[in-house]
Point group: C2
Chain length 309, copies 2
């Protein structure tokens, strides 16, 4: 298995994810389904096709590859992760949530369609993710499939993404009983670990599960992914604080306007950049037990730290 850089890997994966999602979001019902309404599918396609860095699929497949798992099976698991990621973006953009009109330079799903369709498209993408993971085509071993479902569902649920978005809304002072309290650094880190870190970590863990990684290797990958996820969020906050809307593809400066608690707001731009560098170093250290075959994962850490959109 030749070692490739992360840029080459993510470009290859992005093309395969696009084709895979096209196939997954076909109008033809799967066994056990009755019919797939055209408008719902169009909204699901709008939510997932034609954009996105595909960082999570690239991470999942790079970890799987490190442990010798390649081909269609890790890709299917990566499609499931991308369905969950896409669903969360659609729901986060809703008027009742972050009320965003623009995502990846295009109208958000509730703007391109309508609110009810956006809610249902998100719901259906989440269900489709778990149906995809549980399908025998994702791995011949049902124990692997069940573990993939468990890891992704925990990352998506009340103790992961959904819970993180809840904390994020509370941090804006939305709910009278909580009051507009200022979060401390520990609370912000926890919020971000749930809202964005959990799915990034789950992606890496799913790659390790598909590759039948041993306990020590799995723990190292988890430590790597935890640092990577935290670095990703800081890079995102730095982009929001510094970036131009046309490079980022969505409105910038929104965090400060919304009074969102971010590490950039707490540590300043310089302090946040230093934290980002430290997290990148932590991620690379966690990969110390692996040789050159982990080069794509090291590239992923540098990619996250350096990204500009």
């Amino acid at each position: 298995m030749p070692t490739i850089g992360f840029e080459q890997h993510i470009a290859e994966v992005a093309a395969r994810v696009e084709a895979g999602l096209e196939a997954l979001l076909s109008e033809r019902p799967e066994p056990g389904e009755i019919a797939r309404p055209a408008r719902l599918l169009a909204a699901m396609r709008h939510a997932t096709l034609g954009g996105g860095k595909r960082l999570r699929p690239a991470l999942l497949t790079a970890v799987a590859r490190l442990f010798g798992a390649e081909g269609e099976e890790p890709l299917r698991a990566a499609l499931a992760v991308e369905c969950v990621h896409g669903y969360s973006l659609v729901h986060d953009d809703l008027p009742a949530m972050d009320d965003d009109d623009l995502r990846r330079g295009r109208p958000t799903v509730h703007r391109a369609f309508d609110e009810a369709t956006a809610i249902l498209a998100g719901d259906a993408l989440q269900a489709l993710a778990f149906a995809t993971l549980a399908d025998p085509a994702t791995d011949p071993d049902p124990a692997v499939r069940a573990e993939l479902v468990l890891v992704l569902a925990r990352a998506a649920g009340p103790g992961g993404m959904a819970g993180g978005q809840m904390l994020d809304l509370a941090a804006e002072g939305r709910f009278r009983e909580d009051g507009p309290e200022r979060l401390g650094e520990a609370e912000v880190l926890r919020l971000q670990a749930m809202k964005t870190g959990a799915l990034i970590e789950a992606s890496a863990e799913m790659g390790a599960i598909l590759g039948r990684a041993g306990g020590g290797d799995r723990a190292a990958i988890a430590a790597y992914a935890r640092a990577l996820g935290a670095a990703f969020q800081i890079a995102d906050d730095l982009l929001d604080a510094e970036g131009a809307a046309d490079a980022v593809g969505k409105a910038t400066g929104k965090d400060a306007a919304a009074g969102k608690a971010t590490l950039v707001g707490m540590l300043g731009v310089g302090g946040a950049r230093a934290r980002l560098d430290a997290l990148t170093a932590t991620a690379l250290e966690a990969l110390g037990r692996f040789g050159p075959e982990a080069e794509p994962l090291r590239g992923a850490a540098r990619f996250v730290a350096a990204r500009e959109h």
Copy 2:
């Protein structure tokens, strides 16, 4: 294993489901979770505790019992089904969807909390359902767990519940490009098979999976549940057309006001009652291969036909 009637069974199951959901919706995070925000959990509890007939859990556990599976494992699968059912009610009630203020005689989740919390509570309930099914406590055999996930996810997704709700909104003439077309009987049956039938059928199928039922028995259970699901929807439509709001616990007469296409509207009350009787007979016929041990399932068919709330 003593044969019990369905009324006794559903009462016992309702108590066990309530206790099981209490435990599932504890604030203590599960392994792989970071923290469960209190407001999110409160909304998830509001959505699922303290009400509901628990028809789907009763059906799942009755089918499992028919094939010799009893105890905590079928109950856990039933909790997952009830989480999906609860999530779908929360989202269907949202202002952008059916805009309901009342459910089971209490404020809907977005009225008791707020819209964002209701969206997230629904999302988190769906994720929790799949985490519950994939957990080894639900069945020691991972092949069974993976199959349970697949059946439930297909029933919830674009070709099941989410798709059915989409068709229901379209049937109200919501979307300009589709126009306010009148649905024919076949389209109404398909819509209802997706919106409510899919989850009822999945519940029965999951019971058969947990009981390791053979192919012929599974097909019989599927035919039974398909008729039961269709009967359930007609009974629901009859209640909406005829029932008093205080007995039903939610606003009645809404279907006609919303211009919803129902079989009661097409066949009249008498025609719909005759159809309900025919479906009940079909459900009972499908159980012909089973002896007195299937008595609770026969009772379920009579229960659905006769229910008044």
